[in-house]
């Protein structure tokens, strides 16, 4: 269920971000293989192909987050306390 929702959420964000100005991104296959190597992962070729297929939409979707004007000077909602 989560996986179907996730794919849809990324696709919607990518669609909304389509009109935002952007530089051409990296070649998906090159990028995915580099990311997997950095994570010391060696999936089968069909799984790499699946990850490559999802890469472009994911990167496009991220641009939507940088287009929220109020976030420019906001603090992130991360958890930190000086008390361990």
């Amino acid at each position: 269920m989560t996986q179907m929702y996730a794919t849809a959420a990324v696709a919607l964000a990518a669609e909304l971000a389509a009109d935002l100005p952007a530089e051409p991104g990296p070649d998906p296959e090159t990028a995915v293989r580099a990311l997997l190597a950095m994570a010391h992962l060696t999936p089968a070729e069909d799984e790499i192909a699946g990850l490559v297929a999802g890469f472009r939409a994911a990167r496009a979707a991220v641009r939507l987050l940088y287009a929220v004007p109020e976030a420019r000077y906001d603090e992130p909602a991360v958890l930190f306390s000086a008390r361990a």
Binding site: A9, A39, E75, A77, V78
Partner: protein, 471 residues
Amino acid sequence: MDAPLTVTAAAAALRAGEVSSVELVEQAIDAADRLDARFGTFLDRYVDQARAAATAADARLASGDPVGPLTGVPLGVKDLITTSEGPTTAMSLVHDPEWNGRRDAVAVARLRRAGGIMMGKTTTAEFAIGEADEGSPFPELRNPWDVGHHPGGSSSGTGSGVATGQFLAGLGTDTGGSIRIPAAFCGITGLMPTYGRVPKSGCVPLAYSMDRIGPMARSAADCALLLSVLAGADDSDPSSVREPVEDYPAALTGDLTGLRIGVDDMSAAPARGDDPAVPGVLAVAVEVLRAAGAEVVDVRLPLWAELNLVNVMTMFVEAATYHQPDFERQWSRYGKLTRSRIASGLYYSATDFVQAQRVRRVGMRRVAELFAQVDLVVTPTVTAGAPPLVQTRWSRLDDGGTTVRAGYWNATGNPVLSVPMGFTDGGLPLGLQIAGRPFEEQAVLRAGDAFQRRTDWHLRMPQLVDAAQAA
């Protein structure tokens, strides 16, 4: 007497001596004997321990000594949350089943201290996010209303178990809808409490900053009773929050006078799989809330696409972090879908992740501004019924997901209840989400209870269960 359908009714009957815990537990065992395999509810059953606990509960009830509010009540626990009776698998071949040293998670310990009886561990999606490969040793998950459909996830077994009477209530977890979706698809009630309201220590993480443990049961009143036991900070969970714990059952007045409810029908975010029955069912549900005394206004949830993306991205990045060591050593032991989804967390940079958390802060503020105008917000939980089983498989990954309306609230942290609000034309249950201000679960539960005092959707029993009982 007929077997009580709700925790509230069972607890009252136990105290009145109208039923014994042994009878309730035997009824639950009998139901599971007949129905578990059909719906894939349990991964492990604690029959002997439950029988012993029921006998002890009856002795306590007979003694006249004070007893906990759940004394003698059979419960199920999602197999992401540890229990002392047996291993915790996260429905995965990878997870160390002895993790947490076979100790009760804080939430389970609280249920047990209140007298609850653990009937077993219930099915989930692998690590609450994926799917086991075909041929794996785990059960096939099926919807109690139509076995050709999915029960919803990832708290699937707790959903099907409550819906079919294999226990009266249970624990689920919710990171992107995993309590509310199976509650909606199985025709029961599920509460995702405010982030930090219920300690999550002893629960296998999916995404640290969004995971929540919450109750699933037939009614909002049952969820209120369970939350009164589950709520409150614990030092073992640094994200649990020291906020006052309300008397949730006492908040259930049946009257919504003075409450202003915003309705977002999701028409601004149409989806390919939307069921045409949903708008009409939602309209009728909203009229019930109005009849209970609420003022109703139309609203639009702000930053809808952005906060859904924040939910997904945060979930995958945090999950990829948690799983990295096991990915390196045991990649092929994960389900193919599970590992592909989690690995997609690698798409995002550290910069992207922090930006997502900044947008999350903006979203929380915008939602708080909305809640300055209204006391509650209602939407459909999902704008369709449960998907056919084929849609959850690897080969059909892209189908249907846009109809899920749940993950937005995981990004913002608000409490959200899903209550049954009717059926599709095909006979599949639909859910109504009721969201409230952070740490104001009492308002959410009050609205859900008022709705359920005027409807009986939450008490409907799937015909498949009746047929199995008659056989």
